[in-house]
């Protein structure tokens, strides 16, 4: 195959992988601290994108001449803060309350919450049932090498995503908060005996996971220049799969899983150029095979550190 085409596929795959990794990290964090699956997480990504869009409408209404960078900064902050707060409220009012019931109840409740979020945006966001254009907030510069075009905005998004993952890694491994999150993930009751405020740590974990999802939503909007109320459905399924194949509860596994899934999709598109619409079918099919081969995930729990 043509080298420039290969480069193009690789870059696109890396971009997708970063987005999936950011979503998968949330699934794995929540599973880590509470042993539950928060099925609405994909739709939270969508809410993050729409929160940013709302911020865009609001800010450009007040300051029409705002520079791209300033606006990007502010709408990202608006999205991240709103969604982090939403995550905490969801944890406090719903997920912590469901703790005494079976984890299946949480799965079902969050699945319904996802539907509520989707439908709420569709019904109440102005023109919410149609795809909405997302503002272009990154310079439209690109470098061409033969047939291969490297978009500058993709590079920026990728770097920002990578920085976010590195900060998350440092937070979990190097800070006292991170140590408390790891302690709760390994043994909730003993963590409490050490003086960890369990409820607070759960709320903070949900704020962090949701904030990362919000960023993934903004990234998605900037990359595709379009968002829609249903975008979280597939993103959620992919993020969940990525977390599973990486080994649920393991952050690095989730990141690996995200890139792996994007790699599979890209491979599917390359290998079957006649039927690239089937790339998701191919990728999910391979995920099923991986699950059969390594039921506890690619990074086995034994050798890896959970959360």
């Amino acid at each position: 195959m043509d080298i420039s085409l290969l480069a193009q596929f690789t870059v696109n795959g890396l971009m997708l992988g970063m987005m999936y990794a950011l979503v998968a990290v949330g699934f794995t964090l929540f599973f880590g601290v509470l042993d539950i699956i928060v099925f609405s997480h994909g739709d939270v990504v969508m809410v993050g994108a729409f929160a940013a869009l709302t911020g865009h409408y609001w800010l450009t209404g007040i300051y029409p001449d705002m520079s791209m960078w300033v606006e990007l900064f502010f709408i990202s902050c608006i999205s991240i803060i709103t969604v982090a707060a939403f995550g905490m409220i969801m944890a406090k009012t719903m997920i912590l309350r469901l703790r005494s019931a079976s984890p299946l109840n949480t799965l079902l409740a969050t699945m319904m919450l996802g539907t509520v979020l989707r439908e709420a945006v569709r019904l109440f966001f102005p023109g919410g049932s149609n795809p909405k254009p997302f503002p272009v907030l990154l310079p439209d510069i690109s470098a061409s090498f033969g047939d291969f075009t490297l978009r500058f905005d993709s590079v920026i998004l990728f770097v920002l995503g990578a920085l976010l993952i590195v900060s998350l890694h440092l937070l979990i491994t190097k800070t006292k908060l991170g140590m408390a999150i790891r302690a709760v993930a390994q043994d909730e009751e003993t963590a409490r005996l050490m003086g960890v405020n369990f409820t607070l740590i759960v709320l903070i974990t949900f704020a962090i996971g949701s904030a990362v999802a919000a960023f993934a939503g903004v990234m998605n909007g900037l990359y595709y220049n379009e968002i829609n109320f249903g975008m979280g459905l597939l993103l959620g399924a992919i993020g969940f799969s990525a977390a599973i194949i990486g080994g649920l509860g393991n952050i690095y596994g989730a990141i690996l899983g995200g890139f792996l899934f994007a790699g599979l999709q890209t491979l599917g598109a390359v290998a079957m150029p006649f039927a690239s619409a089937y790339k998701d079918v191919f990728a999910f099919g391979v995920v099923i095979l991986i699950m059969a081969w390594k039921p506890t995930g690619l990074i086995a729990e034994k050798t890896s550190e959970r959360v």
Partner: protein, 236 residues
Amino acid sequence: MQRALSIRNVYTAYGKADVLSGVDIEILPKKITCLLGSNGAGKSTLIRSILGLTPPREGEIIFEGLPISGHPTHSVVAKGIACIPEGRRVFPKMTVKDNLLMGAYLESSEKKIKMNMGKVFEIFPRLEERQEQLAGTMSGGEQAMVSIGRGLMSSPKLLIIDEPSLGLSPALVSENFRIIRKINDAGTAVFLVEQNVRQTLAISHYGYVLSQGRVTAQGTAEELKTSDEVQQAYFG
């Protein structure tokens, strides 16, 4: 008489069934107070009640003159009570050092943390050698060291130790009891919950016997050694 912790008329239930029915226990400062009892007597429930993991439905628990019953676990711990839980419960995927640091989670002074860690390493030199090892990969005896060391990291006023002899070889059990004695000599009040009657009474000052959720005997260690209750229950 001065007290470190008073448990007054405590009833604790799981669901509707009372596991503790009116327990009164006084834990003395700077002494080792022990609680003896067979499986299912309610020993672990009593510890859970003190620590706020299973709050009592009735009765009072008072630590240094202030009520703590019904308080969340982290605020009970913040008052100066530490626990070495049954079965050691080390954080398996953390290093020995991180396990110890978790013990000092509520301690903000770096200097104090360092000092306490130094003390722990003095008692257990092996932990200093193994600082970077994941606690889950250690032997049972070594994990017991981690768990005890972790309990000392907050320099607690009261240390609750739940069945330290469980699952350890006789040699290690003796070693652990010797260390508990040493911890107490340094001024920490100890509440020792055990099934191992002989060795427990050998190091304790005062003791209680719990049976079916009630205190059935109490007295100094000497008194308990000769009491009919204990004789019948444990020595046949």
